[in-house]
């Protein structure tokens, strides 16, 4: 009976969600008449006053940078919480609950690939304001490099304190740039550096600085998550 009611409720909800979204449509002009959407202003300001080639980056880091600071904090809290909950159950460094038998091909191949992966990740977040990608994506790429090393080598260790220091310094950079903007620009996270010319590496004011900090932070945090979970006692 209970299951039947649940299924009925879900069906009703699903029906209404689907007709609403089918009705709104995807890609068509779905806005109410007479409304000027903020997206037009975003596109305009990105090219004309920020000189950033990637609009997604300018929205994520500048227009809605406060949200990004919040999301970075969410990740930080999730990692902190994971470390707190698995605290008592952790193995010593070098011991693991899960071991993978890696063949010669994997061990030698991963050693070769690891620097390339880290380089790609760094490229993605340093060029976040010029090409697709950015801090979050670059950070994840770097973390996959560490995951590969942890899978290939049983005794590969990452210093817990090192990760914590990188994480903290990157977070302080982000929040610090924001407060610096408050002091010298007038509002939190405001751009206080010259914007440069479009498509240059050094352009976009504080946007590359923030994205590089985000890249380091995400890389350190996700590596920390993988490391913590691998060393969890069953």
């Amino acid at each position: 009976m209970k299951k039947f009611v649940v299924i009925l409720l879900l069906a009703v909800m699903g029906y209404y969600i689907s007709i609403t979204f089918f009705d709104i449509g995807f890609g068509d002009s779905h806005l109410v008449e007479g409304v000027v959407p903020v997206k037009d202003a975003y596109l305009n300001e990105t090219v004309n006053s920020l000189n950033v080639a990637n609009t997604v980056t300018s929205i994520v880091v500048n227009f809605r940078g406060f949200d990004t600071l919040g999301e970075v904090t969410v990740l930080f809290l999730a990692v902190t919480a994971l470390g707190g909950i698995l605290y008592k159950k952790r193995h010593q460094a070098g011991e693991r609950s899960v071991l993978f038998s890696a063949s010669k091909v994997v061990t030698s191949g991963s050693k070769l690939l690891f620097p390339a992966i880290v380089l790609l990740g760094a490229y993605v977040f340093i060029h976040g304001h010029l090409s697709p990608g950015g801090g979050f994506q670059g950070g994840v790429i770097i973390a996959t490099g560490f995951l590969l090393m942890l899978l290939a080598y049983e005794n590969f260790t990452v210093g817990h304190n090192t990760l914590s220091v990188i994480e903290s310094l990157a977070g302080i950079t982000f929040a610090g740039v924001g407060i610096w903007g408050l002091i010298y620009g007038g509002s939190f996270l405001e751009n206080f550096l010259p914007v440069g010319t479009l498509n240059d590496l050094f352009s976009g004011g504080v946007i590359p600085i923030i994205y590089i900090a985000v890249g380091f932070k995400v890389a350190a945090e996700l590596t920390g998550v993988i490391y913590t979970v691998l060393h969890e006692k069953g």
Binding site: Y16, V38, N62, L77, A81, I172, S187, N191
Partner: protein, 493 residues
């Protein structure tokens, strides 16, 4: 002006990233820094509140983009009042938990205080923000800290409670995103004031879909029946001070967000009736469930849910008196329920099951803590001359002014139920014989100071309610003034 509202978010975030670094140098700093930050924020809140009472609301833009392009924060009489209350309670909870459990290792202590500070920051951000997606981000910050704090004791039961909370919380996040998507697809903006000014253009069908999803999502956080399945478990399994923080801070922020959405964003008149109906159901179900509880903290949790139902009913009246009564209830509930959670945790400190019958005769062994618990019980059921009396009275007069006789009857009946289950505990504390096997734990000095401060506020507001009613009248006028809010935000450049 001595600071700006954004510091309420920026300073704790900066401190949160600094704590791991300082913790490597001086271990005690992980406990001390959150306290310093919260004390600074309290001073800032009081200063800004003084400024706002004279000069009107402060609207602050982020990254130099005027609304609706950028994100903005609004510190008005309404939001400022709640922020001051939350930061004050946060400081009290911090002081109380400074040495709550002795011999806690360095790592868990570091995480506990960091998460507690972020819990408060997230709630304050929810109240301050003027952007609906930013609201989502702050809800995420608050809930992730809340899941972690619920599971802090790493036992089987607390893991279960945390998991339940996690599942419902994720559902809330998904629903919130669906609602934001519907609104953005129609109006092309995320700013609350901008949405409020354009809402009449939206198709009614979409409007109803959006409000249902928003209200369901926020109802999960605000413990509205039937979405509150997580609450009793989370309150019972989380450490005592965290229960106080949930009841006093997190739930208040969620209530604020749902009220802001119904009063400012949407123009559906039926939403007020929805508030009354849902509030009444929540009130009846939670209070009758509270009678049957055998664990002290679960009883307090159900009582907390019931009070939130009453707050919803008062907001649903839609009049300025109703809003005033609701705000007065929120203020009193935040202070009194925190006092009950804080003193109650010491009454059942060493017990494993935290049963009500284990407080038998404890009044002789813990005189001050028991006295404070009893003071809180008297205040929350609304006995004169304590603080709770005035808020219940204002609900009754507001209901009488709007000719809602059923609400008056309901509030009076529910008060009797409350008397029954709170007096049962009071009776056990003073008039039963103590069980030999129960060992008591004396509160630490800082916990005692925290509890006595709250007790003093209960008495001061009880004898002299004018101490807060001035602020509350300003705050309720501020919430009712929708055109003023929209004008303040959108005329900024």
């Amino acid at each position: 002006m001595v600071g700006t509202p954004v510091l309420f978010v920026a300073i704790p975030l900066l401190a949160a990233f600094l704590i791991p670094l300082f913790g490597m140098i001086w271990k005690e700093s992980v406990r001390v820094i959150p306290g310093i930050v919260l004390a600074y924020l309290l001073v800032l809140a009081i200063n800004l509140m003084n400024y706002v009472m004279v000069n009107g609301p402060i609207v602050e833009v982020i990254a130099g983009w005027a609304p609706p392009l950028g994100i903005n924060l609004v510190f008005s009489a309404f939001s400022g009042f709640l922020v001051t209350l939350m930061v004050f309670l946060g400081l009290i909870v911090w002081m109380y938990s400074y040495r709550f459990k002795r011999n806690v290792d360095f790592e868990p202590a570091k995480k506990y205080f960091l998460l507690l500070m972020m819990l408060i920051t997230g709630s304050v951000g929810m109240v301050l923000t003027g952007d609906i997606f930013n609201l989502f981000v702050f809800i995420e910050i608050t809930s992730i800290s809340a899941y972690a704090l619920t599971a802090f004791y790493t036992g089987r039961d607390s893991a279960e409670a945390s998991f339940k909370y996690l599942m419902l919380g994720s559902l809330a996040s998904a629903f919130l995103l669906i609602a934001i998507m519907i609104i953005y697809s129609q109006l092309g903006t995320l700013n609350m004031a901008d949405i409020g000014s354009k809402m009449h253009l939206m198709k009614p069908a979409y409007k109803i879909m959006a409000i249902i999803f928003l209200f369901t999502a926020l109802g999960i956080e605000a413990e509205i029946f039937p979405l509150n399945g997580w609450a009793p478990d989370a309150y019972a399994e989380a450490p005592g001070p965290v229960g106080a923080a949930f009841a006093g801070i997190v739930v208040k922020a969620a209530i604020y967000a749902s009220i802001r959405i119904i009063y400012t964003l949407f123009d559906l008149s039926g939403a007020y009736d929805l508030l009354i109906v849902i509030g009444m159901i929540t009130l009846i179900v939670a209070e009758t469930a509270a009678i049957r509880q055998e664990k002290l903290k679960r009883m307090l949790a159900y009582s907390s849910i019931g009070q939130m139902g009453l707050v919803m009913v008062a907001f649903g009246m839609g009049t300025e008196e109703g809003v005033f009564a609701a705000l007065f209830l929120m203020f009193n509930h935040a202070i009194i329920k925190s006092l009950l959670f804080l003193s109650g945790s010491y009454l059942v400190y060493n017990s494993k099951d935290k049963l009500i019958k284990e407080v038998n005769g404890i009044g002789k062994f813990l005189p001050i803590t028991s006295f404070l618990f009893v003071l809180g019980s008297f205040a929350i059921v609304g006995l004169p001359p304590f603080a709770g009396f005035w808020s219940k009275l204002s609900v009754l007069t507001a209901a009488a002014d709007s000719n809602m006789l059923l609400i008056i009857a309901l509030v009076l009946i529910v008060s009797i139920i409350e008397v029954v289950y709170y007096m049962r505990v009071v009776n056990r504390i003073y008039f039963f014989k103590k069980d030999e096997s129960v060992s008591t734990q004396r509160p630490t000095l800082n916990a005692l100071i925290a509890m006595i401060t709250l007790g003093a506020i209960v008495l001061i507001v009880g004898f002299y309610p004018d101490a807060v009613t001035g602020f509350l009248h300003r705050a309720s006028a501020d919430l009712m003034d929708k055109a003023g809010y929209i004008n303040d935000v959108l005329t900024l450049n």
